[in-house]
C-alpha cells in the first residue's frame, strides 16, 4: 500500500503533535507555578529569620509597636531598623544573626524583606478601615503569634475577599479585640448585628470601585 501521507505532511503532523504536547505541558506548568501554594511565596526565607512567634507569642509585643501605621494608613508599616534597635541595641546586641539589621542602621541602606502578602497592583487594600470596622489581624493573617517564620494563610484571591465582603458579620470583632490574636468573633447575634450595623451596605462593600480604581 502506498503511503497515505507524503513526507512533508508527516513532518507537519509530527510537529503538530509535539506542539500540542508542549502546549499542554506549558499550560500545566504555568497554572501549577502560579498557584500560591507552589509559587514558593507562602513562607519565603527572609533576610533575617524574624520570628513573630517569639516577639508576639512569647514576648507579647503589640502588633502596632512595629506596624505602627496600621490604623492610620492603608499600609500597615514595616519597622525601620531603628525601631528594631530600640530593643536590640540592648538585647542580642551582637548576635551574628542580627548583623543585617545593624548594618542597615549603620549604612542607612534598608533591609529588603520579602513580601508575603502581595496583592495585584490593581487592588487597593486599606488596613486602617478594616481595623476600624472590626476586622482583626488574625482574620486575614492567621495566628501570627504561632508562626516562627511568617507565612500566608489566606489565598488573597478575590473570591476570598468577597467571602467576607458579602457576609461580614461573622468575621467582625469588638474594637478592643482586633489586635488580640486569640480573640474570637462574638457569638451573640445581637452583638454581631450591632458590629455589622457600623458597616456600609453589602452593595457598597461589593462595588468594584471599593477595591479597584
Amino acid at each position: 500500500m502506498a503511503q497515505l501521507f507524503d513526507p512533508p505532511a508527516i513532518l507537519g503532523i509530527k510537529l503538530f503533535l509535539i506542539a500540542i504536547t508542549l502546549a499542554i505541558a506549558a499550560v500545566w506548568v504555568t497554572f501549577y507555578k502560579a498557584l500560591p501554594a507552589h509559587s514558593g511565596l507562602l513562607s519565603p526565607q527572609q533576610p533575617i529569620p524574624f520570628s513573630h512567634k517569639h516577639h508576639v507569642g512569647d514576648d507579647g509585643i503589640d502588633c502596632r509597636y512595629c506596624h505602627w501605621s496600621v490604623e492610620k494608613s492603608s499600609f500597615a508599616g514595616i519597622p525601620s531598623a531603628q525601631v528594631c534597635l530600640t530593643c536590640h541595641s540592648q538585647l542580642f546586641s551582637d548576635a551574628p544573626i542580627l548583623e543585617p539589621l545593624r548594618e542597615s542602621a549603620r549604612t542607612g541602606v534598608p533591609i529588603r524583606w520579602v513580601r508575603v502578602h502581595d496583592l495585584p497592583d490593581f487592588v487597593f487594600f486599606d488596613h486602617g478601615i478594616h481595623l476600624a470596622k472590626g476586622v482583626g489581624c488574625v482574620e486575614c493573617h492567621g495566628r501570627v503569634d504561632r508562626m516562627p517564620r511568617i507565612e500566608r494563610v489566606a489565598s488573597l484571591e478575590m473570591q476570598w475577599c468577597l467571602g467576607c465582603h458579602r457576609d461580614p458579620a461573622p468575621h467582625l470583632r469588638r474594637p478592643q479585640d482586633v489586635f488580640d490574636m486569640a480573640s474570637q468573633p462574638p457569638r451573640d447575634a445581637s452583638v454581631r448585628a450591632q458590629l455589622a450595623s457600623r458597616l456600609l451596605s453589602e452593595q457598597r462593600l461589593t462595588d468594584c470601585s471599593t477595591c479597584h480604581r
Binding site: 494608613s73 531598623a81 531603628q82 542607612g108 541602606v109 534598608p110 529588603r112 490593581f122 471599593t210
Partner: protein, 885 residues
Amino acid sequence: MPPVTLTRRNFLKLGAAAAALASGACSRPREPIVPYAHQPEGELPGVPRFYATAACFVGAAEGMLVESNTGRPTKVEGNTAHPGSLGATSVHGQASVLGLWDPERSKAPRRRGLPATRGALERDIADALARFRDSGGEGLRLLVRDASSPTLLRQLDRLVKRFPRVRVHRWDPLHRDRGREGARLAFGRPLEPLYRLEEAGAILSLDSRFLDDHPYRLNYARQFARARTPRDGQMCRLYALESAPSLVGAMADHRFAMSVPAIEGWLSGKNATYDTIFKDLRQNRGVILAGEALSPQAHALVHRLNAQLGAPVSYIEPPREETQPLADLVEAMRKGAVGLLVILEGNPAYDAPLDLDFGAALAQVPLSVHLSLYEDETSARCTWHVPSTHFMEHWSDARAFDGTAAIVQPLIAPLYDGVSPHELLLLLTGEGKGGYDLVRETWRDTDWDGALRTGVIQDSAFPASPVTPRVSPGSIPSQQQGWQVRFVADEALLDGRFANNAWLQELPRADSKLTWDNAALLSPASAKELGVANGDLVDIAIGERRLRAPAWVTPAQADASVTLPLGYGRSRAGAIGNGVGFDANPLRTRAEPWNAGGARVTKAPGRHEFATTQNHARMEGRDLARHVDLTHMDSFRKERPRNSLYPGWPYDGYRWAMSIDLNACIGCNACTIACQAENNIPTVGKDQVIAGREMHWIRVDRYYEDHRTLFQPVPCMHCENAPCEYVCPVEASVHDSEGLNVQVYNRCVGTRFCSQNCPYKVRRFNFFDHTPKDESLKAQMNPEVTVRMRGVMEKCTYCVQRITRARIEAEKQGRRISDGEVITACQAACPTNAIMFGDLSDEKSEINRAKRSPLQYDLLAELNTRPRTSYAARIVNRNPELKDG
C-alpha cells in the same frame, strides 16, 4: 539584516528554549518590602504629605502645595493662601512635576561637552576670579532670566560689593519691558498696575492676554470669573481687541481681531465703536488692560485713560532692578571685554533676538558657565554646563506679581549632581554657606515655620503707591503697515523651557486644539487670499529674515497678520522636544519683540501634517456648548428627562455628581493636565494623536459659534443610563452603588464596544503599552491609581481614589463625607472654580445649589442617558449699542 536561515533542528531548539523560559516566567515576581533604615519624623507610608512651595513660570511666582508620597513629589495642587494661585494651578504648575522626573535632565557638569567634576568647575572659576580681583570684577558678567528672588537680589548685592565692576544683565524672552517702559513714561517710575477686576463693571482688553500668560493670570482668572457672575441682572462686560487668539478674546462679549497697529490706531483715533465702548466703561466702572505688544506710549495712554475712568487699579512698585539689557552684554562680548560669563538659567543662544547674534558672541568669551536643567543650545556653546536643580529640589524664594514672597522649599534631595542658582553664585560671592542658610538669612526676621507651613510670607506684598499719570505721555509711534507678524509665547511650552515635557507637548492648545506643533496662525480671509489651507506651508519674510512654517487657519486671528508661537523648533531640548515645530525666533528682533510689520507672506510648496484633537469646530445645529444672553436668561430652555416606565434606581448613599459652569470656564486646560498627573494618564505621541488615540480623560472642546469661541470641558458624564454598560460583554463597565460608572481594568478585554457606544466619546483605549519604562518616570506615578496596560479601556473615574480616601476617613470617624471634602483633580486645578463636584443626596451641598441653576442643562439630553455631569450655560453680555464684534 541578513536573511533568516533556520534549520529544523534550530527551530526545535529555539522553540524548546522559548517554552522553557515561558514556563519559568510564570511565577509571580518576588516583591520586596523596603522599610526605612531611619524613619523620618511624622512620615506615614501610604498617606501623602503636602509641602508649600512656589515656582515662577511667567515672570512671577505661583504658589503651590506639592504632594509627596513617601518622599516622591507626584502632584501639584494650588495654594489657597498664595495670591498667585488662590488654590488654582496653571498647566505649567501641573506639568512641572513631570519635569522633575524627566530622565533627560542634565545629570552631571560638562566642560566643553565632556563630563567633568564640580571640583574642576570650582577651580576654573577661582582661577578666573583671581584675575578679576585687582580690576574689581571688570570682565565678570552675569546673565539672569529672572531676578525677582529676594535671596538672589541679596546675593547680587553682595557680589557687587566684592566686585564693584561686575555687571548683571537680564534676558527673559517673555519680558514685560514695554509695560514697564510705559509706566515709566506715565509715572516716571516702572510701576506695575494691579487690577481689581472683581470690581470692574466692564473690561477693555487691548491685546492684554491677562488670562493667558500674564504673571498674575490665576488671580485675574478668579477675579474675572467672580466679576462675570450675574448679580441683580448685572455682570461685567468684556471687550477684547486682540492680534492673536487668546483666552481673553474667547471669553469676550465683543471681540475684534485686529493687528497691533490697528489696535493702537483705534486707541488714538475717534470712531463710533470707541465712543460706545468708552461710554460703557465710564458708566460701569470700566478698566482698560494693555498687552505687551503695544508700544510704551500706548501703555502710558492706557494708564491715563484708567485714571480718567477712575478704574479699579492700584500701582505697586517692585524693587528697583539693577540689571542691564542683553544688548550691552553682547556688545561687550564682541569686544572681548567679557572674561567670565555666568548664565543663570534661560537659553539665550536659542531665544535671544536674532539681530544680537548671541551665539556667535558667546564663542568669544573665554570662560562661560551655563546653569540649566537641560544641556541645551546655550550649554553647547558654553565652556561649562552645570546642571541646575529643579525647584522641587532646592531652597529659594520667589515673589508673586503683587510682591507677596514665598519660600521655595525642596521636597526631595537633588536627583542628579545639580546646584541651585544660589549655590552657583556662592562660587562668585565666596560665602561658605548652603542654599538653605542663604534663604534663611534673607528671611531671618520672619516667622520661618509659618512661612513654610502656609507657603506665603505675611505682609510682604508691595505697597500700592498713590500716583497720577502725566498728562502727555507722548504720541504713539506709527508702526509699519502691511502684513504683521505677531510673536506669542506658546501657551504650553512658553519660551521653549517646557519643550521636553510630553504632557505639555500633547496638550491641545486652547484655540487650535493642536498638539505636538506650533503653527503660523492665519485668518480665514487671509488664508483664502494666499490660497492656503491647514497644513500648507507659507513663507514669511521680514526684510532679509525669512521663515517657512505650516499654516493653521483660525477665525480668532486678525486679517493680514500671522501669529507665530515661540518655544518650538528646539534642537537640543531632549528626545521629546527636538525638532518639534518651527523656531520663530529667527524673525524676532530686539526692536520688535512682539509684533513686526511690513512682512511678506507667500504660499510655499509642501505640506505639514498636524495632530489636532478636534477636527470640527461647528456644532451643526446640536446645542452642545450653550450660551444665553444676559437679558434673556429667562428664556433659556432645557430638555426635561424623559419619563420612564421604570422607577428610578434607588440610591441610599452618596450620589456623586459634577457641574461645569461654562460661564466660568476660560478654556485654560489646567483640568486636563491636572487629571493627567493625578490619574497616571500616558502621552501617546504625535502619530497616535493623528490616529485619534489621545488619552486625556477630560478634554476641552472648542466651538466657533455666532462669532465667538465656546469652550466645553468634557469628562465622563457618569450617565445613569450609561450606553457603555450594556454593550460590555464582560461587565467591565458597570455602575456602582453611588452612581459612578466604573471601568474595571482587570475585567476589561478590550473589545472597545463601550467606546463605540459612548455618545460623548470620553472613553480612551490603550492601543499600546504606554506605561513608563524609565525608573525616574515611574516615580511620578500616583500610587493610588492603577497604571493601565495595553488593551484596556479607561476613562474619568470622578477621581474615585479621592472619594475612597474621604470615605475611609469619614467611616473611621463614623460620619458622612461632608460637602467639599472630595475635590477632584480637575476641580482643584481650575482657576475659575468652573467645576463643582459633590453629593446630590445632601440637599445643602454646593453641587445641589449649582444644579438648581436655571441655566443647567445636560449634554445630548435627547439620548436620555441622564448624565451625572451637567453644564451651566455661558452668559453673554453684549452691549446693545454695539452692533459689531
